[in-house]
Assembly symmetry: C2
Homo-oligomer: 315 residues x 2
């Protein structure tokens, strides 16, 4: 049996990334109901909103689901307590130190996975006692690592140095790329962009349309003096990225950035002035489909790839 399907008791080793403004109970339950692992993204939720989404998700699926918690907000302690109170069994932590909450979560009987973007934090997470690691490459949407290591390089690199299950993320949007990720040494995959554009995603339709339109080179990693973030090139991107290129300092960048830009773009649908966080793989996304259709396509493509690759091909 696959290590990831076993760890989470799911049918396919496919995890839907917990994403701000996209992954509420509707998306998470749909993915879990289709045989993957759905994650509620707590990053854009006030504590009460998160509790509501957890409760609705429990009603919408009897399959395992989890919560993603970015460890960078002041209310993280409160979020963690709600997760434990609500009896959540799977937590993905990201954007922070894996030593902070892993013990507390593990003591509550929770399976803990930490998201990393380099080998140093992969080893740190493993030492902290997490059950698995998500390794996210440079091509991924939203916040990103400083090393800029891509999925193609990161997975073989981490596979050599960690022994716990490894989940590949970044640039994965087809059954072919799931198969490729497992070939590189991953035990499963985490898919973000494809699900961000799904019908069940809580993102604004304007944002989903921007993802569908996006082509090669439409996203770019910027704001490297703050925290690097991959965005669609829109008016806001052009303004903030020009400021970066012109050598503006942190304070000046923060002033241009203002507050609530991701909500403005992804949830309220202002695709000119808002931050539109999505991965490079958006270039291959041509429509907003239901989670069921996405999952069926992924499994079909995986099967075709496996069959093709089992033939000779010259090696």
């Amino acid at each position: 049996m696959n290590k990831i399907t076993k760890l989470f008791n799911i049918k396919y080793p496919i995890i839907q990334g917990g994403m701000i403004w996209c992954s509420g109970w509707k998306l998470a339950s749909a993915v879990s109901n289709s045989g993957g692992l759905g994650l509620i993204g707590a990053g854009s939720m006030y504590p009460d909103v998160l509790r509501e989404h957890i409760q609705k998700c429990k009603l919408a699926t009897d399959k395992p689901f989890g919560v993603n918690v970015p460890l960078l907000y002041p209310n993280t302690e409160e979020i963690i307590d709600i997760i434990i109170e609500e009896g959540i069994k799977i937590v993905f932590t990201s954007a922070g130190n894996p030593s902070l909450y892993t013990s507390k979560l593990k003591h509550a009987g929770i399976t803990v996975v930490h998201v990393v973007a380099n080998s140093k934090f992969a080893l740190k997470a493993q030492s902290a006692g997490v059950d698995a690691i998500v390794a996210e490459g440079f091509e991924a949407g939203g916040h990103n690592g400083f090393e800029e290591t891509t999925t193609m390089v990161m997975i073989p690199l981490l596979r050599k140095i960690i022994s716990i299950p490894l989940i590949a993320a970044g640039g994965i949007g087809s059954g072919q790329s799931i198969y490729a990720s497992l070939s590189l040494g991953a035990d499963g995959v985490q898919i973000g962009s494809l699900f961000a554009a799904a019908k069940e995603s809580s993102a604004h339709e304007n944002f989903k349309e921007a993802v569908v339109i996006a082509g090669d080179g439409s996203t770019y990693l910027t704001l490297k003096k703050l925290v690097p973030v991959r965005l669609i090139r829109n008016e806001f991107f052009n303004t903030i990225h020009k400021a970066c290129i012109d050598g503006k300092n942190k304070e000046e960048l923060l002033e241009i950035l203002g507050r609530g830009r991701a909500k403005l773009g992804m949830f309220e649908g202002n695709t000119n002035e808002g931050e539109l966080e999505i991965g490079q793989i958006a270039a291959t996304i041509d429509s907003s489909r239901s989670v069921k259709e996405i999952m069926e396509t992924l499994i079909e493509e995986y099967g075709i790839t496996k069959s093709k690759m089992s033939q000779s091909l010259g090696i």
Copy 2:
């Protein structure tokens, strides 16, 4: 039969990238003798030097080999004429417009491959009549595309839009990643960094040592206001990259850059003051090995991966 092995009449669909200061006749002939396709990198050679390398390569192997020509130097016409005079049958062009020399080369009976880093140039190269395309991802060493599309994203994207054979490049340093690249839709792979560090590479031992030492995050893409280039972070990198971050303009950057930096670092072995062009995959390269040993390892790893992946894995 595999499209790439058939196109070049070689045993394995593995091409050694033509790299400045690394790939002379010794490296190219060793790769061709081991069943791959060796390429002499004309980018760092004066016309007479190229002619000498071609003649020596012919004596060193009876297998097919080719020449890589970056289309950005003033003497390109002369280089192309030498290649035709010497009866070279395979040419890879890069860093320029594929319409420029494809017809001339094709009329001379030469198989032409063009290196691209985005979908626009892939389509342009296909229209120009090339026989295959190398698609090089962001993780690759040396000069790089402006879109920053990674191999994981680029291969499925280009596979959808082009019909001619597709060669994946960038981040490939193991049999696992060759297998993954073919899963993504490539017909073959081009490998640079692994061969740059090979015993037969003409690069300086100090450079090879720097590649072996390099870990996660040791390389970085810089000089984006000129032509983006991936370098090892050394003293020179720190100086030029700080100038980029501080918002220096093209002229100021060119002054800091000076001339002959790549030769200084890669050929003369000044690893502090020179440019050290290498891919992210350097993080997985632990020793300088012979081409024969590298090729045998790649084929062995490929076989192990194929065998592993033909089993179930939960999908």
